[in-house]
Symmetry: C2
Subunit: 191 residues, 2 copies
């Protein structure tokens, strides 16, 4: 998606350790016009898939999920992060290892809001190691729902999460795929 | 806002201690059509105020803020919650006491994304004690920005936060105002 790649090149900042900071438009300050175009692009790719719900995880997935859901005219369900292991019986949960923060947390979703008839589009801001998306797939599976696809705004393909999910038969849609972040601060896209 | 009040009466659940749970449509599962109508209503009330940015706090404010920002065609900035007191110099921060969780946390915003020329609409899902909105006002003040108004989807007027803010001269816009939650589970609106 050219609009997005141009924005990443203009406003993205590269930090040591494979960190790409895009908090100017994606996950702190949010460029609503860009996110609307991002939502439209996910819709263009997936509009025939009879999606009934968009599933994401707080906090930085929520904006993209909402701006995408508007095009599909479906509800959003966002998983909550829970640092305690003390979970009630009325939730589905999955454990997620955070690569960025070096921690582990649970994500939880109320059983009331997801069912076996749902056809789910998972949405997140980044796809790096794929841990959050793996957790969301696990939750959808626990509910017996169908995961139609997982979409991320930016894939960091050099971290392998996307290919691992594709090898497991998950349809992955990412709008900008970053192949490398160089030591001198350059951002190299896959295509 | 009748559409919203009807939804609260139909799907809201009352729990002991003044808790109104609306996670069926507002802060876990998100009814995108309703939030779009909510955004449109905030826009109708405030469209002449030359708002340049919507400021909210993660996580449950983000959806409302985004669906409102689309109508104003302005960016969203969401404050991050930070449990450590170890803050860098490049942020504005404020301390917030959480009534619901009995904890205190910092909310932080990058200094890069808010300036003295901004005319800010603060948005959140609930206005109860008003602590989160007080924190966001403090951040806007630190940046020298103008707070045009603070909007919340649901005000719990019996907790006093809204009136306290109004007495301080802050324009408050709430779309459903709950006067009481009764022991037998009824929801009573102010008007």
């Amino acid at each position: 998606m050219k609009l997005l790649k141009d924005k990443i090149l203009r406003d993205g900042k590269v930090y040591p350790g494979g960190v790409l900071k895009v908090d100017n438009f994606l996950n702190h300050r949010i460029d609503i016009q860009l996110l609307d175009a991002i939502g439209e692009e996910f819709y263009r790719r997936l509009k025939d898939e009879k999606i009934t719900m968009i599933l994401t995880v707080e906090a930085s997935g929520i904006a993209v999920a909402c701006m995408t859901a508007r095009h599909f005219n479906v509800p959003v369900l966002f998983a909550k992060k829970n640092k305690t292991s003390n979970l009630s019986n009325d939730v589905y949960s999955a454990q997620v290892d955070s690569y960025t923060h070096g921690t582990t947390y649970n994500i939880v979703v109320s059983r009331d809001y997801i069912s076996s008839s749902d056809r789910i589009l998972i949405i997140d801001d980044f796809l790096a190691k794929g841990n959050a998306i793996h957790g969301l797939i696990s939750i959808a599976n626990q509910a017996g729902a169908t995961v139609v696809a997982a979409g991320a705004v930016i894939e960091k393909s050099f971290q392998g999460g996307g290919d691992s999910l594709r090898e497991n038969g998950i349809r992955i849609e990412t709008l900008a795929s970053v192949r490398a972040l160089t030591d001198d601060g350059n951002i190299v896209f896959d295509k």
